[in-house]
């Protein structure tokens, strides 16, 4: 299953009944929520393994989540959220209230119940 498969193929509703699933809470703040239907909190479910290159699979990680969000939840202006395979600089990613740099960044393997937060730095005063 190549990664260029249509967006809907990886969405919640298409998971088979028997495949292990990872329920997640995803939050956007600092203005990023404006790109996601102006909704801060989202509950999604991902498969526990995902396609990775030539017919192989990998455990679902944050890099996959970012791509999934871009393809499935993002409503506008992808360039404000992603930059290549990662998030745009200026966005902080949190894994259960820790900076993702402490957790392996994009390689962090998602676990059921994880809360992943994307925040854009604020500037007002």
């Amino acid at each position: 299953m190549p990664d260029s498969q249509p967006d809907s193929s990886h969405s919640d509703s298409n998971l088979s009944q028997n495949e292990p699933k990872i329920p997640l809470r995803v939050e956007f703040s600092g203005g990023l929520e404006l790109l996601f239907s102006n909704q801060r909190s989202h509950r999604i479910t991902l498969p526990s393994t995902v396609p990775h290159g030539d017919g192989t699979t990998k455990p679902t990680d944050i890099t996959y989540l970012i791509d999934w969000l871009r393809r499935n939840l993002l409503k506008e202006r992808a360039e404000l959220f992603t930059d290549g395979a990662t998030v745009r600089p200026g966005i902080l990613v949190l894994v259960n209230d820790s900076d993702w740099e402490l957790e392996g960044e994009g390689d962090y393997q998602l676990r059921p119940g994880d809360e992943i937060v994307f925040i854009s730095t604020l500037h007002g005063g």
Binding site: R40, P89, G124, G125
Partner: protein, 285 residues
């Protein structure tokens, strides 16, 4: 530190905090001997200045180039109606001197820029970022790194706030915590970096964040701040409004504070952040 310098009146004024465990006479002496500069006498700067002055910080600097406008008064609680049209720095200085005439207040009626940042900020122990735009935030962080001083950074927008202390001395073994650039090597998309004029701001949100900035500065001065890098997020409308985040360490490849740091001395901060922002005041908002 010269504890003997406290006057009888100081004991009467600061008694409620001097009996606190961990503060005491040594802590109050540190506060009275400390200097803090607040960059921006707006929504964040006003409450920060109030509580810094009330707690007895010996010397307080205020930096701002703006004048007080009616649209500021829904959040900038040091500025009185009668000071509309006057310099924010003088308005704020006058206000905090009335709270505590024993504080020395230094006024800097200027915009902070690459050309003056070092000279304006170098004589203070702690720098508070109460500014309202990305170029100033990068400039303050880079300057705090150059000067080796902690930067207590607050930000607020709509119903949200963020608080983080950058370049904090974590002790002899650990060096300094991350700088603003370690976390945000590039500025946000200008489309997401709306100003208060553009996206709105609720006054009490800046009040909470600015007051917490004063608290952070005091903790750093008296030596009661846990050195671990962290950021506090505030979302006033959420049922659980605060979230504390554990942050990364300093990045070795940071252009400002990394092992090859100091590579940003001739940066045009405004261009780096996507050019000047529109003047919303002139557009009638």
């Amino acid at each position: 530190m010269e504890p003997a310098k406290l006057k009888l009146e100081d004991y009467r004024r600061y008694g409620r905090q001097m009996i606190l465990p961990g503060l005491g006479l040594p802590g109050q002496s540190k506060l009275l001997n400390a200097s803090v500069v607040v960059v921006g006498a707006g929504g964040l700067g006003c409450p920060a200045l109030q509580y810094l002055a009330a707690s007895g910080v010996g010397r307080i600097g205020i930096v701002d180039h703006d004048i007080v406008e009616l649209s500021n008064l829904q959040r900038q609680v040091l500025h009185l109606e009668e000071n509309i049209g006057k310099s924010k720095v003088f308005s704020a200085a006058e206000a905090i001197k009335k709270l505590n005439s024993t504080c020395r207040v230094d006024t800097h009626v200027c915009a902070i820029e690459a050309a003056n940042a070092i000279s304006v900020l170098s004589t203070y122990d702690v720098i508070l970022d109460c500014s309202d735009n990305p170029p100033t935030r990068y400039l303050l962080s880079d300057t705090a790194v150059k000067l080796g001083k902690p930067l207590v950074s607050g930000a607020a927008q709509m119903f949200d706030g963020q608080l983080c202390t950058y370049n904090l001395d974590m002790g002899p073994d650990l060096g300094r915590g991350p700088c603003y650039r370690c976390l945000f090597p590039q500025p946000p998309a200008p489309e997401l970096a709306g100003s208060c004029e553009e996206t709105g701001i609720f006054g009490a949100v800046t009040g909470v964040v600015g007051t917490l900035q004063a608290m952070e500065a005091v903790k750093i001065i008296v030596g009661m701040r846990d050195p671990g890098p962290s950021m506090l997020l505030y979302s006033a409308m959420e049922l659980s409004p605060f979230r504390n985040i554990k942050l990364r360490s300093r990045k070795r490849d940071c252009p400002a504070c990394g092992i090859q740091g100091g590579r940003i001395s001739d940066l045009d901060y405004v261009t780096f952040c996507g050019g000047p922002r529109p003047n919303w005041e002139e557009r009638g908002l």
